[in-house]
Symmetry: C2
């Protein structure tokens, strides 16, 4: 293998593939990335056996070939390099020789035959979606999934493809975030999948690199997301996602329009006074607004009043302030609408003026 490549191209490619690679995996080749010539370009690949990433960058291929090198070392070396151009040449199938102005370097690698095969999905794209739209939808939902994997289904993110829309949901059984986003065309058949949280986090970062269209492919047990020059391949989580739609209330007794940032400030102030629990009280009164209160023996007490437009009944409940802040932090809107039934039924937060997002949170029963 012999390639001449710009530092910028290599850096971009390494940035895409490096995150999924480990650093201390006892199986050395899993700490490595695969460099491979591919039809006049350079293909970089990485895998942690659950997620694989392929990306292609431009370069001048002088001699075909492939080799694996430690991801972290390669990344740090290229990032530090002051020069513009680098020649990459494989030596005896396990050493990468890098030559650039003033810098002469050999990096110990492993033969490309040792690198695990990343499965590819050859069929046609199942669905297409705008990258920015998908990224925004993910940012409003994924943090709501369960943090531990004792229940693998809800540790992941649910995606349902229905006609020309994608419905994304995440829940840990105490709260739920659901967002729908338009596809660029209708799907031929409906499909429901659960993707690992790690995959979604990686997808989110890949989508951050630019604008464009995302193509989504499926095989029986895997999904592939293709964006720009990068492919992300992941296993799917096996299992039945909970039928969460049944817990979303059809109607509410109280609705409040409230400035998102004011509510956030009030919740943060309250949170300082509940060092041993996360429980804050939220009371809503027509004609007045929202009152947030919190107190503890150790810290003291805090009451904050927020003027807000309340319709319906007087209401109140105790909430985990973190569950409310998670949602408010990630909703890029000025005003949210809080909907309540009573102190024991699910409450909802929706962005004012949008009907593609619902957040459900259970009150704390004291």
């Amino acid at each position: 293998m012999k390639i001449i490549c710009t530092k910028e191209n290599l850096k971009k490619g390494l940035f895409m593939v490096s995150r999924v690679v480990g650093n201390n995996n006892p199986l050395q080749v899993l700490n490595n990335i695969l460099l491979k010539t591919d039809q006049g370009r350079v293909k970089l690949s990485s895998t942690n056996l659950e997620i694989g990433v392929n990306t292609w960058v431009g370069g001048k291929v002088d001699k075909e070939g492939a080799l694996t090198v430690p991801a972290r070392l390669m990344n740090e070396y290229i990032n530090n390099l002051p020069s513009e151009k680098v020649t990459l040449e494989s030596l005896d199938n396990s050493t990468l020789v890098l030559e650039s102005e003033n810098y002469h370097t050999n990096i110990k690698g492993l033969p490309h035959e040792d690198f695990p095969l990343i499965p590819s999905i050859a069929e046609e794209a199942f669905a297409k979606i705008d990258g920015t739209e998908l990224k925004n939808a993910l940012s409003e939902t994924v943090w709501a999934s369960a943090q531990n994997e004792t229940q693998p289904e809800i540790s992941g993110v649910f995606m349902a493809f229905e006609k020309d829309s994608l419905r994304i949901a995440a829940t840990d059984r105490y709260r739920l975030a659901e967002r729908t986003v338009k596809l660029l065309g209708p799907v031929e058949q409906e499909k429901e999948v659960i993707l690992p949280a790690r995959t979604i986090a990686e997808l989110y970062k890949i989508l951050g690199a630019g604008k464009g269209e995302v193509e989504i492919y499926f095989s029986e047990s895997q999904a592939l997301f293709k964006f720009d020059e990068t492919e992300l391949i992941s296993r799917l989580i096996d299992g039945q996602y909970p039928d969460y739609r049944q817990i979303i209330p059809k109607s509410f007794k109280t609705e409040v329009e409230v400035p998102r940032e004011e509510l956030m400030h009030a919740l943060k102030a309250a949170s300082l006074f509940v060092p041993d629990s996360n429980n804050i009280t939220l009371e809503v009164k027509p004609g007045a607004g929202i009152t947030v209160t919190a107190s503890s023996m150790a810290a003291g007490e805090n009451t904050t009043q927020i003027k807000a437009k309340v319709t319906g009944e007087e209401n109140g409940a105790v909430f985990n302030f973190r569950y409310l802040l998670d949602c408010l932090n990630n909703l890029a809107v000025t005003t949210v609408r809080l909907k309540m039934i009573n102190d024991a039924s699910p409450a909802a937060v929706v962005p004012e003026g949008r009907d593609n997002y619902t957040y459900i949170v259970m009150p704390i029963k004291l």
Copy 2:
């Protein structure tokens, strides 16, 4: 106590005093800051029994008094507050009532009588120095002190006041940084002190808040730095600072003028190839320049050539790359001069065109 204060003033004061306070000290009052009315202003104080900080901010004093409150809670509460003005009132000597638009809060505190006395030094200033000058001098030296406290003297920073200059030194016995800086006037008598690294770190942050003059006071066992509206009081380290000047060579056999950033890039590249040691080799040849090399069985090898003006003999030595990078990272100059004798004698790094700074580093004997 009753004070009306702006959020900005309180925030500024809390920023100054909060860093030295603990959060989990079993002696609760040491997690607190002292609020006190003082001649029409608000005085905030904190201490960890080794370092004390006093700062004064403007406010409207309606009723004299004092009270202590948890530093972290107070800081987070004030930082989160959206309003401009806050009324602070003490209730029954152990509760602080904070009132601002929409926010009504009681913070549990402790009586001011429980707060440790921060000693004050009433004499005249021993020395005066420009704050920015002092800050720059500290940034070029303090990181060279010993990281553990088995030898308390060298865990601190040495300051020698001599006529109209201050000489600052830090060493861990393998490397040494020395900087002199002009005082704003001559001192009446010479004086040598050792200050704890923690004190210097705190002083550095306080100096970061603006421009102005620093007044330095001493008692037998303590130092006080006064800058703007803030006082930092610290114990001195007892002991004899090593007579480090004797190890600074009087003359060298080789001198190299080298662009600082180029040398940094070369050292960083080399550092990637010595994962199990910090040893890199530096060779200097008249007519050529500097060659930096590193290699290891596991990672591979790297050689970088830097064009540089060399005067004197061909030379070479093995160095801990971290010791060289520490110095280069903190010297804000374009060109440095590297001076060597041989592979077993101290080498020096000085900023080109300045004679107020010397860095000495010992080569590694293999």
